[in-house]
Amino acid sequence: MNVLVFAEQRDGKLKKAALEAMSVGREIADATGGTAAAVLLGQGVGPLAEALGKAGADKVYVGDDALFASYSDAYGLAVGKAAQAMAANALVFSATAMGKDLAPKVTARLGIGLLSDVTSFTAAGGAVSFQRPIYAGKAFATLVPAAGKPFGVTVRPNVFPVKECPKAGEVVSLDHGVTPGDLKAVVEKILTAQGELLDVAEANIIVSGGRGMKGPENYKILEELAKELGGAVGASRAAVDAGWIDHSHQVGQTGKVVSPGLYIACGISGAIQHLAGMSSSKVIVAINKDPEAPIFKVATYGIVGDLFEVVPLMTQAVKAMKAAG
């Protein structure tokens, strides 16, 4: 299979998720006998091609053009062109905000199917199958592409390792065919939340707070711990609905579904909709004063206690651990 990977960049930096997707693409190409290429769009992005070669791209289609300075529907057109140029059998996108927006625009254009949010795959002897969560992770489906049909997948960030696999990374200028008239749904600007920590969707460590936080002012103790751990701050819907924290932090079936290396749930009871969004985290810590709280059923480690006592102590202990090396 020839595999085309969309390599997402923002502000001239490749996303880690792009390299993860590249590693997935390389593995599929190797297992099924084909080439793996990347497509890179933006302005002044040429230098990023090298990293994609290192991660396994035989070729990198570069669309370095002012037309791609901002994300728009024209990205879909350009990626479709790259897919046709290499006769791609499989398209791989990251399941990021951009990837999830872009992927269906490309696959609809090509009239092919798309699997969202793949979390594992097996590729061997020419065949490939994909696993993806449904019902926000309450179940998993294993699917195979219809025989001989091209297809697309988006792969969940932070799940697949980046593997060094140096290949030629031959840079090819993409004949994208985009004209200014194609610039529809153009991103005008990005407002970044002030002094934001990482986004929960991207973080490998999440410190999350629920109704037990009692009020918005108390989130700073979670922020302090998150900062010490290099993580993000999450929340239950109860906290979001109370207006204590923005919806972009909500974890769960109607928030973000996350699978970080470490999820610390503070004052969160563990309702089914919350568990759906985080129970595939590698390690889960529950801090709750109610020993009967359902969150303890999924926790790797639990502390039954007052989060206002536990969390600041934990921040101190992490600091001390780091200082001790």
Partner: protein, 258 residues
């Protein structure tokens, strides 16, 4: 301003999921089916536009005959008309097939704007609105938390990692609605009564000029399974400060998570 709103009939988020004996179907027990929570934002947005600019709101669903309940919910909130696209296999249509059906339906009714939800709970595809936009050749903006309309110019806010994008688009367009865009209204008793009298149009594949072959699934399902049970955890004991010390040590040395 004529608005089409795509609404999906889904099991509510309380639903506990089991896998049926054949490993290829879910057993949803006595699941309660409701309008997809995100589609309520879409209906609300459509109603607000209609209240400001006039025109009609038409709710459209693809599914089995039971999906008419979700249409009634949209009508009770205040939608004017409803279209039920229902035929053999429609309730199991994959995202591309669903989009082809919805695009064909959209081709038969006048619209200026299409609203859908950010994602359909259960399938969790986050695709259908974008696919329809492409099939119709109109711009698509997804995960929208803010919307301003001036004439035919839309200014939208969309949620991205660690921030908000401001996006410009022009009508006609497809917009997928995310929590934060508005507060969906509850249907009033009067609305519920009125909904019973509103017309629901039913269309089959043939009415939509669709060849069933174009609705074949793009992927074959090999199996469904529940996530592996998590290994039993450990609740620590002792004085809180000592527990915290132990926890940090375990996270560092045993779990290697920090």
């Amino acid at each position: 301003m004529n608005v089409l709103v795509f609404v999906k009939h889904v099991p509510d988020t309380e639903t506990r999921v089991k896998v049926a004996a054949d490993g290829l179907h879910l057993d949803l027990g006595e699941a309660n089916f409701v309008i997809n929570p995100y589609d309520e934002f879409a209906v609300e947005q459509g109603l607000q536009l209609k209240e400001r600019l006039g025109g009609e709101v038409t709710a459209v669903t693809v599914g089995n005959d039971d999906a008419v309940k979700t249409l009634r919910q949209a009508l009770a909130m205040g939608a004017d008309k409803a279209i039920l696209c229902s035929d053999a296999g429609f309730d199991e249509a994959d995202p591309l097939a669903t989009a082809r059906i919805l695009a064909a339906a959209a081709g038969k009714v006048p619209y200026d704007l299409i609203l859908c939800g950010k994602h359909g709970v259960g399938g969790d595809n986050q695709q259908v609105g974008s696919l329809v936009g492409q099939l119709l050749g109109i711009p698509v903006v997804t995960v929208v938390t803010g919307m301003e309309l001036e004439g035919t110019s839309l200014q939208l806010k969309r949620e991205v990692e660690g921030g908000t994008e401001v996006v410009k688009a022009t009508l006609p367009a497809v917009i997928s609605c995310q929590k934060g865009l508005n507060e969906p209204r509850y249907p009033s008793l009067k609305g519920i009564m009125a909904a019973k009298k509103k017309e629901v149009t039913a269309w089959k594949a043939a009415d939509l000029g669709l060849d069933p072959a174009s609705l074949a699934p793009a992927f074959g399902l090999q199996k469904l399974e529940l996530p592996p049970p998590r290994p039993a955890g450990r609740v620590l004991a002792g004085e809180i400060p000592a527990q915290v010390q132990e926890l940090v040590k375990l996270l560092h040395e045993e779990a290697k998570a920090i």
